[in-house]
């Protein structure tokens, strides 16, 4: 069990209360190992984003347990916003539906900043960022601003940003939603390869069946519950 990156146990999230109560997550269970690339497939509104937000320590679950690298989040109640943010900063990488690159930073700077946030010196951060951009075939865009590159390129830059600081978990929320099938597949393939190479656990959530080829595991999600693979 030592190489377990994430474990969810009976995770439940209820938004609102009374009349307006929405059960976004009913009973989610999942285990992810180091270097394992999993997909969560489910229709819109099934609770995928909510699950990622719970995992990413952005939303506090109503009930259930989250373990990250064996440590239970929220367990002792002493978890502060600051601690959660440090956990995200050091252990996690995020990839969004819209690339969410910072528009006033160049492609390179967008990647460098994630590395600098964990204390990497500028030079080293730049070298690491360039390596990744190179692998992802967007090195020639390093000096461009996000607005001037294509959606597929932007998503590859986002992958670099999510990986550059050496996280153990990458959470990707519909990373291909803004791309056509071919580009989407390419992005997912690159993500999988890099994660494998670096031993990073990846959870990709998507509603698009075409994107879930070649994952180690594919979970299905419906009405807030994770069904069997």
């Amino acid at each position: 069990m030592n190489n377990e990156v994430v474990r969810l146990e009976n995770l439940r999230k209820v938004y609102g209360s009374g009349e307006t109560e929405v059960v976004a997550l009913a009973d989610a269970n999942m285990i992810l190992h180091e270097g394992e690339v999993s997909a969560v497939l489910g229709p819109s509104g099934s609770g995928k984003t909510t699950m990622l937000m719970c995992l990413g320590c952005i939303v506090m679950p109503t009930a259930g347990k989250i373990f990250i690298r064996g440590e239970e989040i929220y367990e002792t109640g002493g978890w502060k916003k600051r601690d959660l943010r440090r956990l995200r900063r050091e252990k996690m990488g995020f990839i969004f539906q819209a690339h969410n690159l910072v528009p006033f930073l160049s492609v390179l700077e967008n990647v460098v900043i994630a590395s600098e946030l964990v204390g990497t010196p500028r030079k080293e951060a730049e070298t690491k960022a360039m390596e990744l951009l190179d692998y992802l075939e967007v090195a020639h865009r390093a000096g461009n601003f996000p607005a001037t590159i294509s959606g597929g390129e932007a998503q590859r830059v986002a992958i670099a940003r999510a990986l550059v600081h050496g996280p153990s978990l990458i959470l990707a929320d519909e990373p291909t939603a803004a791309l056509d099938t071919d580009r989407g597949k390419k992005v997912v393939a690159l993500l999988k390869n890099l994660a494998k190479k670096r031993g990073v656990g990846v959870i990709v959530v998507t509603h698009d069946v075409r994107m879930v080829e070649g994952f180690d595991r594919v979970y299905h999600m419906k009405d807030g519950s994770i069904l069997d693979e």
């Binding site: 990622l52 939303v59 440090r86 910072v102 006033f104």
Partner: protein
């Protein structure tokens, strides 16, 4: 760390630049008002400094010629001259006149002095010559609108501008024109013919009650009321080594006049004439600074709201609050910093052309800089607060 504040501004600098220019101009006005106030103070005390006297003797129970009417006999200068420690004495007259000059009203401040004395007159002649003749010569402030050779008719006489002096102004800012004391007295009393006639009648009436019948009260009244040997102040110079304040006190005891030392005279001038201006200008400056703060606040807030998604993203990838606070506060400080230097540049290029003297005091400018920086920090609060409140989940919204 990448400097997010600078990156953001340099990526889309338009709003920032325009705000800098706007705030810069407001700050320029703030600096100008400070400079005008300092100019008021300088102007108010300029004549006192320029005269070079150590003691001002004025009418008893008055605050002197710059505050109210002060009339004392001219020959007091001879009487006071015998006091030990008094090295020089002179009599001065002061009068504000308004003339019509080249179709425009022009206020001038006439100082009558004795050209034979080494003090009381213009401290420098920048063009032409000093007053040499007993009559009809004038030396004018070069900013008075009068030029060398200009002829000016006051009363029944015509005076010629023979020299120009520096920017000497009255305590209320009117350019100074120097004349001989005799000329100045003539101008002063010719303008008051009516008043003199009234004085004479009144004197005659009073004298007829006091003097025996047929003592010639008419003649005496004439003599008294035609006496133009009245001045507004007698000024003394004190020899080295004599205590000025002791001599001033001695004059007051001995002659029943009021005697001011230079600091006392300056205090009266700055308190009386400048105190209100100080309050008014101070109030305007505060209002302008508050307006600046409101604008900076609004711009920084808008700037921050426009970046909410990026801020949420930064939080989501784990950026500490400090990174976000710094981004916003730094932009606010940069705004204030550039605005300050824009204002500084403008005022330095323009202050010479202000109608009133603008005196830029380094201390005032430094203090303003500190205030502007503080204002920027305060102005960024609303932006910082909403940025800190935004939920990282906001970044995930499609």
């Amino acid at each position: 760390m990448i400097d997010l504040a600078v990156k953001d501004i340099s990526h889309s600098p338009r709003r920032f630049i325009f705000t800098c220019l706007g705030i810069g101009m407001l700050l320029m006005v703030v600096m100008a008002m400070g400079g005008i106030y300092r100019g008021f103070v300088d102007d108010a005390t300029l004549i006192v400094k320029n005269t070079g006297a150590d003691i001002w003797v004025v009418q008893k129970d008055t605050n002197g010629p710059f505050a109210e009417e002060s009339r004392i006999p001219e020959d007091l200068k001879h009487t006071l001259g015998v006091l030990p420690g008094v090295s020089d004495t002179g009599a001065l007259s002061f009068q504000t006149i308004q003339i019509n000059w080249k179709g425009k009203p022009n206020r001038l401040f006439i100082i009558g002095y004795d050209p034979n004395l080494r003090f009381g007159g213009p401290s420098e002649i920048i063009a032409g010559r000093p007053i040499l003749r007993r009559h009809y010569d004038m030396v004018a402030n070069f900013k008075s609108g009068l030029r060398l050779g200009d002829k000016l008719t006051l009363g029944q006489d015509t005076y010629t501008v023979v020299g120009l002096t520096g920017n000497v102004v009255s305590p209320s800012g009117d350019p100074v024109v120097y004349m001989t004391l005799a000329d100045a007295q003539k101008v002063q009393f010719q303008k008051n013919n009516e008043a003199i006639r009234n004085d004479r009648e009144r004197l005659k009436e009073e004298l007829s009650g006091l003097l025996p019948q047929g003592a010639g009260e008419g003649k005496i009244a004439d003599a008294l009321s035609n006496d133009t040997h009245i001045v507004n102040a007698v000024v003394l110079k004190v020899s080295k080594g004599y205590p000025v304040s002791k001599i001033a006190a001695a004059v007051e005891r001995w002659k029943h006049y009021r005697a001011f030392t230079v600091p006392e005279q300056e205090t009266i001038l700055t308190m009386g004439l400048v105190a209100k201006a100080k309050m008014q200008l101070g109030l305007f400056r505060i209002i302008l600074l508050i307006v600046s703060m409101a604008i900076i606040n609004l711009v920084i807030y808008t700037q921050t709201m426009d970046k909410m998604r990026e801020i949420a993203t930064l939080k989501l990838i784990g950026a500490p609050d400090w990174t976000i606070v710094r981004l916003i506060v730094e932009q606010s400080l940069l705004l204030g910093f550039f605005a300050y230097w824009i204002g500084y540049a403008i005022i330095n290029l323009t202050y010479k052309y202000f109608p009133r003297r603008v005196v830029l005091v380094p201390f005032d400018l430094k203090a303003l800089f500190v205030i502007v920086m503080l204002i920027c920090v305060i102005a960024s609060f609303t932006g910082v607060r909403s940025a800190l409140k935004v939920d990282p989940a906001h970044a995930l919204g499609g």
